[in-house]
Symmetry: C2
Subunit: 267 residues, 2 copies
């Protein structure tokens, strides 16, 4: 049973703003550590490749999904045999997206998620919003990706659940004043949708932004399977899909929805 479960790792990292070579080096070390723990999937924070709060330079550092930045991360995935969800600024068609490439354990780009909800002036000035949910299969588990503010929209996590997601991986950049998103919202999202959440935050500071850390892996019973502290840290949990099925039988949130009421009300 245990050997069939998905082993997910979350890399809570401290950024050196703009230093992509440093971040790739740290990623390789984290992937080697994750491999040593039996990891199958490694989730990195939002805009991991460059750091999050780096101002307009984020646009200069943006690369296409088939550029050298994602290729370097894919090389780490191939070397360690671990799937990686890799946050980076993406350049495409003259626009810049806040993206996460989904790399499989052979180093292939299996999908590419673009943040759907842009948060605040920094993101709205520098990025274009995506328009597509992404769900991939890793070791037989359906994995959706959302980035930071996306996850705070209950509709977005619900959409992933209804599309079949069993795990939602969330690269994020959460500041200390919003720590309740990590401590209260993350387990609530897992519980109310009957799925697993892997919430990957930054640690430390970038400019005047101080991150709270507190990355976590939460389960469908509304509890924490793993929880990081404030500093750089790799956390790990085995996701038992049988547990997800039991939780959904005990409380069938997805089946008990009454969408006709919500839509009428929202019309």
């Amino acid at each position: 049973m245990t050997s069939a479960a998905l082993n997910v790792c979350v890399f809570q990292s401290e950024a050196r703003p703009g230093d992509t070579a440093y971040h790739l080096g740290r990623l390789e070390k984290a992937a080697i550590d994750a491999h040593g723990r039996g990891g199958h999937l490694l989730v990195c924070p939002e805009l991991y490749a460059t750091g999050y709060n780096i101002g307009r330079v984020v646009r200069d550092l943006a690369e296409p999904v088939d550029g050298p930045l994602v290729a370097a991360a894919a090389g780490i995935a191939a070397k360690t045999g671990i799937a990686i969800i890799f946050g980076y600024p993406e350049r495409a068609d003259g626009r810049v997206f806040n993206s996460a490439a989904v790399l499989d354990g052979k180093g292939r780009v299996v999908d590419n998620f673009r943040k759907l909800h842009l948060a605040g002036p920094y993101e709205k000035e520098n990025f274009t919003a995506g328009d597509r949910f992404v769900t991939v299969t890793v070791k037989g588990v359906r994995v959706a990706v959302l980035i930071c503010y996306d996850f705070e929209m209950p509709e977005a996590v619900r959409a992933c659940a209804l599309a079949g997601a069993q795990l939602v991986a969330v690269p994020t950049a959460l500041r200390t004043r919003y720590s309740h998103v990590a401590t209260a919202m993350a387990p609530t999202r897992a519980f109310e949708n009957g799925l697993f959440i892997a919430y990957a935050n930054h640690a430390g500071s970038e400019g005047d932004w101080r991150y709270c850390g507190l990355s976590c892996i939460a389960g469908p019973d509304g509890d924490f399977l793993a929880q990081a502290g404030a500093g750089e840290e790799l956390i790990t949990a085995e996701l038992d899909i049988a547990r997800l099925r039991r939780a959904r039988q005990a409380i069938p949130y997805l089946g008990d929805r009454r969408p006709e009421l919500y839509h009428r009300s929202l019309a």
Copy 2:
């Protein structure tokens, strides 16, 4: 400023299963206490009038909204000048609903909410689900009502927020094993919708059900304004609507939604 704020009280009560006279007596005492605290609105637990976990007898005790049970509660509202959200089993058109009458401070029935999502076999066997959201105005504040499982559906609280609710009052019957709904989900719902939550639970036990208490009043910054312990207790908070406006300006969750994506995904 403070005198214009809505003072909301939550009565966390211990039931005597089936003993409506006892519950009306306790309600009168709670309403007098709430009046002494400057309360404008008093929220009671789910099926307060009869107790929640009382088996099929709940159907025998059900009364129309214009029957003597709601009239007695309305008399308490009129006597104390406090609006009351009063949970009771409602008989109407040969069916039974899990309802909450909304009584104003003059003892008038201003609306009547019927639980929209029935939870588990007990409710599905004994009740019919309602089909309408309810929002009323109390002291200038828009107040929606949801009952227990309704509140656990993120879509339902969102629908209330989009309909203009500034406070969602939630009569509930939450067992100890689900205490994270009170401690993590309640402040999350307040935060993700930019509104106040008044979550009114039972204390003590009924049959093999043990309630966790932990009733609370949560605010739009994701914090607790008041929180009960495990036993019978009246909790109180002043709801500052200016704070709600500031929270919604800081993070405009309602305005940043992208419903066209959710619907496409959910189709």
